[in-house]
Symmetry: C2
Subunit: 333 residues, 2 copies
């Protein structure tokens, strides 16, 4: 296992210590239970935005904590749900009296733990709403999920919903907006290589030298099909095609196009993929109004990419453009 780590059991805790030291101007990190919280939390009168899930997907979610995005993130162990206790403490840390929104990716462990945490928080008098993201069109059920998996749209939802909360929208409005973003977005991913969970010490799956996996999940869960390597152009068709057909996106739609690296993919390839996606969407009459190209929801060192399309309207564009000041996304502030 070739990784820049010490003891595999300490990877998440040590990485969080580094993150805390690097970004002390933006966040505080609580060690036990682990959460990453805005330095100025709780913000009185503002809806708190919480997300979380297994580690290994950085910068998601800790890298999205800060003004205009998340108030707090709960990192579990690698590819493992955080605990209800952890989510409860994080919820309490960001309750400024206006309630807290939980943004939950659709994985069975996360769903169960977030439900329990929401119940516990409500018992303590905190208003909580939960929205589940499930944008992955690759498979209906998977190794860790009943229904569709929550993937790339989660990043976009966190940005847009964070902006709305910053503007002072109430909990019901913020939750409704989050549901709308999830409903308007679709994603599909692929892998050229596997990843290795530190505690496992060996690759999550095996992929031949001339194979790739289409429809991969962010934990290396099997996708739709294992096929021979193909050109970037063909890969983009295989990802964007099902994404477009599913919503469906149609000629005249305005979209945010998000080309995401899985962790081990260099930028030179991501921009090449974006070039193919742009041509494909141009051909379908779909206009890219905004874009995001980079590694934002990753699977450790997996090589590969995902493509997310989000249908935009003027309000979503305005909220996307609003200032954000986090370690992972930063503009206008």
């Amino acid at each position: 296992m070739k990784k820049l780590i010490n003891d595999p059991a300490d990877v998440v805790a040590e990485s969080l210590r580094g993150f805390a030291a690097a970004h002390a101007d933006l966040v505080r990190v609580n060690a036990d239970p682990a959460y990453v919280v805005r330095a100025d939390a709780p913000v009185s009168g503002k809806v708190g935005i919480l997300s979380g899930g297994g580690s290994g997907h950085e910068p998601m979610h800790g890298g999205f904590v800060g003004r205009g995005m998340l108030d707090v993130a709960c990192p579990g162990e690698v590819f493992t749900s955080p605990t209800p206790d952890q989510m409860l403490e994080a919820t309490k840390a960001v309750d400024g009296g206006a309630g807290v929104l939980h943004i939950v990716k659709n994985y069975t462990g996360d769903i169960l733990n977030f439900e329990m945490a929401a119940d516990l928080a409500r018992e303590e008098g905190i208003e909580v709403e939960a929205v589940i993201t499930n944008d992955d069109v690759a498979v209906q059920d998977s190794l860790y999920t009943a229904g569709r998996r929550g993937v790339g749209v989660t990043v976009l939802a966190e940005k847009i919903v964070g902006a709305a909360a910053e503007e002072g929208k109430d909990l019901a409005a913020v939750a409704e907006l989050c549901r709308r973003v999830n409903a308007e977005g679709r994603t599909m991913g692929m892998a050229l290589t596997s990843c290795t969970v530190p505690a496992a010490g060996k690759p999550t799956f095996e992929l031949g030298e001339s194979e790739m996996e289409i429809g991969i999940g962010i934990h290396g869960e099997p996708g739709r099909e294992r096929v021979p390597l193909a050109s970037a152009k063909e890969i983009v068709e295989r990802l964007a095609g099902p994404v477009i057909d599913d919503l469906p996106f149609a000629s005249g739609d305005r979209v945010l196009a998000f080309v995401n690296g899985m962790g081990g993919t260099p930028q030179i390839e991501l921009y090449l993929v974006y070039n193919e996606l742009k041509q494909l969407l141009d051909g379908r009459g779909i206009t890219i109004e905004r874009n995001l190209v980079g590694s934002y929801i990753t699977s450790l060192e997996m090589a590969g990419c995902s493509i997310t399309l989000l249908r935009l309207d003027d309000e979503l564009i305005r909220l996307w453009d609003a200032p954000v000041l986090t370690a992972g996304l930063r503009w206008g502030a």
Copy 2:
């Protein structure tokens, strides 16, 4: 070769088209000769800042073009110097009457071509100064270099010098500042895996399953030694030790600590490395005043990292903190 590409011969051109489409608000991309230039270039009365070199190191340099950093970047083919003609056209594109600074990493091909380009530009009446970065303490000479290689400090110099040019400093002052940043910074890197140049189609070097290369260059050039895999703590000692001893950095120094990923290294590992570096520097009485953690000067999909330390004073801190608006670095704007 597992890459998200089409024809290996088209990788740089296609990736640049994607970059141009994604960041049309910040830059224009000229196709032939290839350069990435600020959307508002030339800025009248401002010193133009130019850098360039082989592709495959993204976001360096094209990702650093924008307000407060570079005015223009010349990308060569992967790991290949741009041509003098390309550098000349780029120089002309950003000459706002106050001259142009060439920031050149110390590789033999780059040096020769930049010298020729500077001569050609001067013949056309453009004032040009060139500053060579050579911060890599790993080896004195290498496969592509006489003297030390230019690596991580180049990124920091581009930011700091870009801020000074934005403030209106003249060419002599900007060049002197660039030399000072280079003189105050040192770097050393390591690799867990090789990279594969698309046109070559096979790994640049072979590294056993339980080996790593200490002192690697950004083109996969051999480093100081090939040794058994070690913990992150030991790796940080092996990189930061020679960096500290070389300048030398001493107790009481204030530094910018830059933990850079080589392209295939996930963030969770980079922050873990930063945590080790912070502890090591604390133990030596060296204070981290600013930090940068991420993949900014890469070697395609190589897994590994480099550590750069830059000794700071109040002026360098102020210029580092100044607003920057590029695809790869963005704050305060």
